[in-house]
Amino acid sequence: MADQPRPTLTIGQSDKPKSAAAPADPNCAWCDPAEKCAPGEVCGTDARRIALMGNPNTGKTTLFNRLSGLRHKTSNFPGTTLEARVTRVKKGIEGGRDGELIDLPGIYSLELDQLESRVCREVLAGTSAPRGEPLGEPECAVVVLDAANLARNLMLVGEVFRRRLPTVIVVNMIDVAERHGVRIDARALEAALGCGVVLTNARDGAGIDDLRLAIRAARIPTPSKPVPPDADSLRAWADEMNTHGARAARGPGTGTLSETTSDRVDRLLLHPVGGAAVFALVMAGLFYTIFAIARYPMDWLGYIFDYAKTLVHAGLGNGALANLLADGVVGGVGSVLIFLPQICLLFFIISLLEDTGYLARGSFLMDRLLRPFGLPGHAFVPLLSSHACALPGIMATRAIPDRKERLATILVAPFMTCSARLPVYVLLTSLLFKDRPLLGALAFIGCYLLGMCAAVLSALIARRTILKGKSRAMAMELPTYKRPALRTALVGTIDRARLFVMNAGTNILVICIVLWWLGAYPRAEAPAEAVSMRAQAASVGNVLEPLPDRPAGSGISTPDGPPYVGEDALNKSRALRAEAAALAAQPGYDQKRVARLRGMADYVEVFGMSSDARAATLSTWRQKAAALESTDSAAAKALRDDADQVERTLADLKPSHGPLSPAELKHSPQWAAAMNAEADRLEARHQKTHSFLGMIGRGIEPVFRPLGFDWQLTIGVLASFAAREVFVSTMNVVIAGQEKADDDAAKQHLMEQIQTAKRSDGVTPIFTPAASWSLLVFFVLAMQCLPTLAVTARESGHIKWALLQLAWMSGMAYVAAMIVFQVMS
């Protein structure tokens, strides 16, 4: 039976018969020396396409990462949200044509009515491939087995054998099996299965070179006992294969897995009380770590984005285009990307927890909580997935067989805290608990718990009213505990971070651009108060101090030397010029006196200038003196003396200059700078208020006023209905104008800018504690994701479920946020 010719129906490019098994080349462990491949590429295989598959938690992805390094791409299967990783394979079967190694989703059986199983079936049949990859049957199937659970894993092997593809069996995690007292004899197993068997430990790379050789020599399996067609017989076949392969290898007195370290640890971690306490501690520690560590790279990113804005303005000036780039694009996108360190850290720690096997225990603990609320055990995986993003979570509900249970899960999945909410949570908890990371972490956990509670309560209501029915029991496998693979966690983190940046970043970029334009036009005239402030600031000098009479002997000597600087000096200068002009208007006027008066006016005026303007004027005087040196040395000397005298006079005054009195302070440079900054703020606020954005925000503000949101927060909330993560960037765009004019604040990073923003009255912070809590609750509960609504409509089969989801979640969010604000204020 095993040797019968195999009729195949192939869609795609598989227009050549399978090659015979290529002999392993002992001299080629990796690739030809003359054709070195880049690190991480799989080469030296004779297969154009290799499907990597196996049960969940068999170290399949670690193995893939070991083979590919970071040189892979992640892609969904068309029509699904199932991800596959693909890496290029050099030296394909037909000489020079590239192939690929595909990391398929973990499955327990190819025959299950689940999306993962269907995708694997279709990939093996050649009718499905990750997006962007050509269709075609794999030339080799690599089945990864858990060495400690060989018998159960071998059932999948039997199902793969039925496809009659060249196959290689990888028995992974041999170190775990050895700790359990189990040793696998690869040769005995190879003889029983009739195909290549390789022992590996993907975490430390043991056996990887053997695997490459085995893939190259992959052949259609010829098991010692044919694979039976039915499931019950398949179990017996798997047991027999396991016995054949492992019996001779087991050491005396070992081989029992009934009492392992994992079992002993599970007694604590799965205990209804102790396990829950440990779970809560682990989660608290996780988020505390995130808050405590991520702030450093966040600070660096803040400075980088500030510097980028400065560069944009330095390169493009202060025109509309430069403002769009600096404030709309760099400022808006930067306000979300600044949270990337926290998101990466979160993904990294979750990956580590998943790899240790603890996350499965956490799932098991949470499953106990779901049952009383009418959700099926199968719902836990979609709900867990929804913590990353609701879209794959809702798609994953396809695995739930009962329609009502599936609908209930779809309806409540968006309550789970997705990664898009994280920047908002981080922003608001940081504002509420600045410099208190522990409290921030607890608030963060509270948001997660509030979302979960809202989900299960909503599910309970739905299951008691519109979706009545019974829940089904759930069975799940708990993997053995193991040391996490940093490499796998790192690769997974990079993948997820890249997806976050690409998906969220694109939306945020375009929304920021639109919001910037709406906030910039129509342009408003500067308010009269701002104009007055600028005029007052412009008339201020550096110091307000009586000056001694100007000593005689300098270039333009006068007994009426400047008594004051600042505004008085300017007034004196104006008076001297007016006197000179009046004299010059008379017939036969004294030209020397007019020149003298004008020279005095120039001299006095210098004391009324700002320090920058004075320095520029003195420099001009010295240049003019140098030019006059050859023609009028006396005038040149007078100019130089004037410049020197001004500097000496001011320098002499400095040591005796004490703290400024209130009257003096009114005319100090600090006062002038503050006046200019306030004028900037007034103008920016006036502009925002009268822009299209302000009109929209003020129009809808009454709806959100009971929640404590002003028109600026209203704009942020409205924009985030497209995607939640847009809120942070929206707030930055909306309020950036208020801070950007302040030189000191411009150096603060983006989060601080938002923290100090004021409402329209210019006094009340936008983010008061009551408003921040209200906003936090609103974001936990509200349905603010258009793509999720679209997927809900598609997966449920009718738009009414999406509308129900929108109305239920947003209504609950509105009421809860209003209660929070009213109570706290």
């Binding site: 795609g12 227009d15 509309a320 651009i513 334009w517 709406l518 910039a520 342009r523």
Partner: protein, 62 residues
């Protein structure tokens, strides 16, 4: 304030940022509004994929 002052139509940068904003708005609305060029045609183009059907590596017509 005059319309020209509210919208600086003589400034080329105004037109540049307006065009960029319009393009961004169109990208945003493509999933909400029925804009044929941005949705149906592009989607149909992506979904169309021609493959050759073979049995045992040979075309069934031969």
């Amino acid at each position: 304030m005059t319309l020209a002052a509210a919208f600086p139509i003589t400034d080329w940068q105004f037109w540049a940022v307006t065009l960029i904003a319009l393009a961004a708005a169109a990208w945003l609305l493509k999933g909400v509004l029925p804009i044929p060029y941005l949705t149906k045609r592009a989607k149909a183009k992506k979904q169309t994929k021609r493959v050759s059907l073979t049995v045992e590596g040979k075309s069934p017509d031969k």
